[in-house]
Amino acid sequence: MSQEAVPVRRAGWRFAGLVVLGGVLALTVVASVALGAQSIPFERAVAGVFAPDGSQSALIVQELRLPRTLLGLAVGVALGLAGALMQALTRNPLAEPGLLGVNGGAAVAVVSVIALLRVDDVLVYVWAAFAGAAVAAVAVYLIGSRGRAVASPGRLVLAGAAVNAVAVALTNGIMLLSPRSFGGFRFWQVGSLAGRDLGTLLRVLPFLGAGVLIALLLARPLNALALGEDAGRSLGARPERTRALGAVAVVLLCGAATAAAGPIAFVGLAVPFVVRALVGPDQRWVLPYSALLAPVLLLAADIAGRLVVPPGELETGIVTAFLGAPIFALMVRRGRVPKL
């Protein structure tokens, strides 16, 4: 029977797709290093990365573009995986760390730490962001899933809107309490890759790495979970453990991403949506594809933000909102959302 052959052939096709996507990501990275208010020719950009000669273009690459690009890469991977994980865990195509208030919760915590405790250390921000993200995630899930076995997609988004509104009100209140730090907050609050140094990235990298590892290891258990609680259990899955580990991974990924770049919405929504349309529901493919496609989108949004209003820039978070919100609205309009 051809039942054996089909998955093998499909797997080969999907693997080829993954390689192509990796190539696209590499090109996007190069473009992100080369393009901007002052665009740098391709060879000089590459030379600036690997053999800096002290020229102006090499300086731009080393000091500005490279840290920014690496940060975009890391944050993109984190947001894409977090979105895919949340959608799989809640079995809800509208789940997303920005919409569900997880990034908002992390943002409140970071702003509070900066304004009230007056610390200036990325590592402290990261821990604060974890705490905020965890509280928000738990709150949204409890509110959205109360009363029924599975949280309904629309209600979860609305619970997220509620938590987000509280988070925004608190963030604003804290920001306004200290006019001196307001100048920095207003940029951070938008979500941006600009102006971060490599130190920021290195500090959050261990947490991101742990989150990515857990997420990728969860692919099989998530597939079992997708069959439903009982069927999954009879196949040897342990739903509680999968959910708990998944939640830990989401908090690690969102907390680290938000601490490094500020709250960025809609990347985690759009990417898994596109990926599932490409490769189907198998999490062993959805997760790696999301991890590669999300940084492509985030870096593309960042590059677009650099180019649309020269010599100024649009923050990445603003570009993703403007790209992502219409996609979300169209999903809702087309009735992509299962029965609400």
Binding site: R146, F182, E315, R333
Partner: protein
């Protein structure tokens, strides 16, 4: 229970319980407003406030009360009233408690229009009000256009979710505008964007009062159509309600009230969502409760303002309503889930 007054050929239906609740809420709003007027760097007792209001107080006190603090209380009460009624209109039309203008982007759009005036064009109070109205109208048009599907209308969850997307997009736009302004201006705009009643003068209160005077009677006149509309378009038509025309009037009144309140007080979150729901629970009536919702909105906003004034650190009123309202919305969702409705 509803009673009917008849005088000759005219008859008027009224509900003693709803009327009593309106009176109690209005009284609460007034009492809180008097305390708000008495609160500040120079504390003024309730008796002195009342004397100053009737023109029998000390001239200095009278200046503080009527020129400095009264506009704040009046703006708060009128904005709350407008938001409450606007919320009741849209929640009834979308037949969904979450279809309120603050959750589905109308307030955010209104704020965008005002911010463009404040930060980009540098217009005065009238221009800000106009921008605010334009922003709300454009947002409402866009949300309804995207959420509309032939044969399904714009009811229910789809409208709310499209509105949430619009709100997210406009919030990003607002944040962008704030990052582009001078630091001082940006700080003031951020304060305004949180929803604030600080430094409100009569030039804020007057246009709002005018909008309330025009739009509230307009909305009340269509109240019957709103009630019938909840039965469905066909049933309402059969009962003699000109559905399309009265709906257009109601949208104009609702968007106008929301925009006027936002122009005066900024996009204060959650009052438009919570006031109609609370009013409905208090009056124990089904159907839209325009006047109780308006009274509840006024009471909520003035009380929240009072809380924000009494806090040890000065925060804008929007922080108070945001936190309280978010908790309330969470409770509302949980309660709906228990009844298995959502």
């Amino acid at each position: 229970m509803s009673r009917v007054l008849r005088a000759g050929g005219l008859s008027l239906r009224w509900e003693p319980r709803a009327a009593a609740i309106c009176l109690v809420l209005a009284g609460a709003a007034l009492a809180a407003a008097v305390v708000v007027v008495g609160t500040g760097d120079v504390p003024i007792t309730v008796g002195e406030v009342l004397q100053a209001l009737t023109g029998q107080g000390h001239p200095g006190t009278e200046f503080i009360v009527t020129t400095l603090r009264l506009p704040r209380a009046v703006t708060g009460a009128l904005a709350g009233l407008a938001l409450g009624m606007s919320g009741a209109i849209f929640q009834s039309m979308s037949r969904n408690p979450l279809g309120s203008p603050d959750l589905i982007g109308f307030s955010t759009g209104s704020a965008t229009g005002a911010l463009v005036q404040i930060l980009v064009l540098g217009g005065g109070a009238a221009a800000v009000a106009a921008g605010s109205v334009a922003g709300a109208v454009l947002t409402a048009l866009a949300v309804y256009a995207v959420a509309y599907r032939r044969g399904h209308g714009v009811h229910g969850m789809r409208l709310v979710l499209v509105g949430v997307a619009a709100a997210a997009m406009l919030e990003a736009l607002n944040a962008y505008l704030i990052t582009r302004a001078e630091l001082r201006e940006a700080y003031e705009a951020a304060f305004w964007l949180t929803g604030s009643l600080n430094n409100r003068g009569w030039d804020h209160a007057r246009p709002l009062a005018l909008a309330v005077l025009v739009l509230v009677p307009l909305a009340l006149a269509s109240g019957r159509a709103l009630r019938m509309g909840e039965l469905g378009d066909d049933a309402a038509q059969a009962l003699g309600v000109p559905v399309q025309r009265s709906r257009a009037v109601l949208v104009v009144a609702g968007v106008g009230l929301c925009a006027a309140a936002t122009a005066a007080a900024g996009p204060v979150p959650f009052v438009a969502l919570a006031a109609p729901q609370l009013a409905r629970r208090l009056t124990r009536r089904t159907g839209p409760q325009l006047l109780p919702a308006a009274a509840m909105g006024a009471a909520l906003l003035v009380c929240a303002d009072l809380v924000s004034l009494k806090l040890p650190v000065p925060v804008p009123v929007g922080v108070v309503t945001g936190v309280l309202g978010g908790v309330y919305l969470a409770w509302l969702l949980a309660a709906e889930a228990r009844r298995g409705r959502a």
